[in-house]
Symmetry: C2
Subunit: 363 residues, 2 copies
Amino acid sequence: MNLMRTVHVSLGSRSYPIFIGGKILSDLGGHCAALQLGRRCAIISDQNVAPLYAAKAAASLRKAGFDPLLATVPAGESSKNLKWFQSCCDLLAGHRLERKSFIVALGGGVVGDLAGFVAAAYLRGIAFVQAPTSLLAQVDSSVGGKVGVNLAAGKNLVGAFHQPRLVLCDLAALRTLQPREFRAGLAEVIKYGIICDQALFARLERDLPLLLRRDGEVLAEVVARCCEIKADIVRQDETETGLRAILNFGHTIGHAIEAMAGYGKYLHGEAIAIGQAAAAKLSVRATGLPAEEAARIEKLLVRAGLPAAIKLSARRQTALIGAMRLDKKVNDGQVRFVLARRIGQVEPGHKIPPAWIRDALAA
Amino acid sequence: MNLMRTVHVSLGSRSYPIFIGGKILSDLGGHCAALQLGRRCAIISDQNVAPLYAAKAAASLRKAGFDPLLATVPAGESSKNLKWFQSCCDLLAGHRLERKSFIVALGGGVVGDLAGFVAAAYLRGIAFVQAPTSLLAQVDSSVGGKVGVNLAAGKNLVGAFHQPRLVLCDLAALRTLQPREFRAGLAEVIKYGIICDQALFARLERDLPLLLRRDGEVLAEVVARCCEIKADIVRQDETETGLRAILNFGHTIGHAIEAMAGYGKYLHGEAIAIGQAAAAKLSVRATGLPAEEAARIEKLLVRAGLPAAIKLSARRQTALIGAMRLDKKVNDGQVRFVLARRIGQVEPGHKIPPAWIRDALAA
């Protein structure tokens, strides 16, 4: 086995490890063998990732005695819908996957969310393993069991809480990411600094050039730290009845941008970068975030190559605010925002007047 | 409130009551108010049931301060698929149902399973109430939290365990059932006698004429007894890791008949009646069920107006046995049967040679 770091997600009988290391995808079969599942399994991947890594993953599974089927969906957010969900389910049924069978989600956030929901619902739930290949998936979406697909009306509106049995973050996969994909992942990394770790935020300000060069050691440490933060939050609030909502900093506006622009125009990380910059401005006004800290947030996003603003006509702004009302955090028709008091300290549940949202977007 | 019986399903924080009584649908709003959910809700029903009961259900909800939306799907098993699942989800999103909103499943087993899966997955899970209007749904499918839809490859292959917050069995609704629908429900009633209550089985042998006339008192007692049995089994094994499998007596062959014939040709109860008669024959051979008890099972099914046999060519028999291998109880490619030792005592997990299945079907 290759050298690696381990982060543990403690959820009682649903606990699982996150393994982080270089080239550890070749250990996939060995790790899966430890889970004592059935022989049959399916790798769900996309048309970008499968040509790069599916053969390696399948070979590792076969070497460990498994019989993997490969299902490939088109790359991109537009595959994260019920049509592809059904296609995957039909494929699994056609190949006679059973209750003890399992699914390996090999790809970025779209593949992990889609394949995870397939695992949650097929035969009322089978085991699954996350093998995230994008930075965004490694630090965020592969950990914590939120799985699902989009509806035309909004992001992630259909899904489940279904924890993986294992997360395998192969850092070597990050080297093959397109620059735009890599930068989108940095938006979630920066988010962890804002919501609960000012030291991480300061480190990102310092080490951003190394990160952008994908320095192995810095990547390993940053990915592991983000996974630790996420694991700690999920441990305290698995199904988002409270604390977990802080992970949605920047997401209320971000999800609405994705829904309004049509899934696929903005990458998720890009949309939430805009959302985080706007949330920082709202925080200055509503929760006393110092203006210089809001400026540091915006500056770090921009240095990471991310958008921090969106130009919209008044009509499109109104549409955007309408789209926010479909956010899952809405209660009694009221949109709730996660806002910051300081870098490293945020609070969920803030109601914000629509006029303030317009101001934050316009700025 | 109207006079009623109450059965309690004890599942810790997921516990809920089953209310059984005449005309209690008009108390729907009051019962829902006790659950402290949001104002917005949706009634999901079908084109047979909605014209009869949706207005009454909606009026009761409105009187209690709720704002119900009505979604109607075509009647019959062919609506229990991912296409109608998506339509329902889109409708809920379009009407801005939130996390605190809830769904009322008003109809038979198809509506309950479909609406329940919508509730399980929409926004990763919202509350739902079962208001079953068919005998089959009142005694079986509305209790226990198994929800889901069919794939082309087989019954209930996609779904979740999602317990309702309340089940409301209005016995008056049983009077408007088509005779064929009512008889199909009797197949599940008879099943409860076979799997764990010989006194119930003997009562059914005695009181069948009263039941077929839909005598109010007998119906109330029989529905309540079936709900008690189901609640007791679900309490012991919520997610079917063991005991709960006995509820599938007759279902391995029954589900395969439904899948092979095309959903909708046989009603679920009719298919499992055939399945139970065949399982009784297999039980005589494999688990020592006395032949005269197998004969009593077949006779009671036939007296209830249910099919107890199916004529198939050798080729169709082979197809049927192939379809069984997609049953969720399959493990390592081996179909497992629930078989009886005596009326009132069954065991899951029996492997049966295909030749024996052919014999049981041919007899």
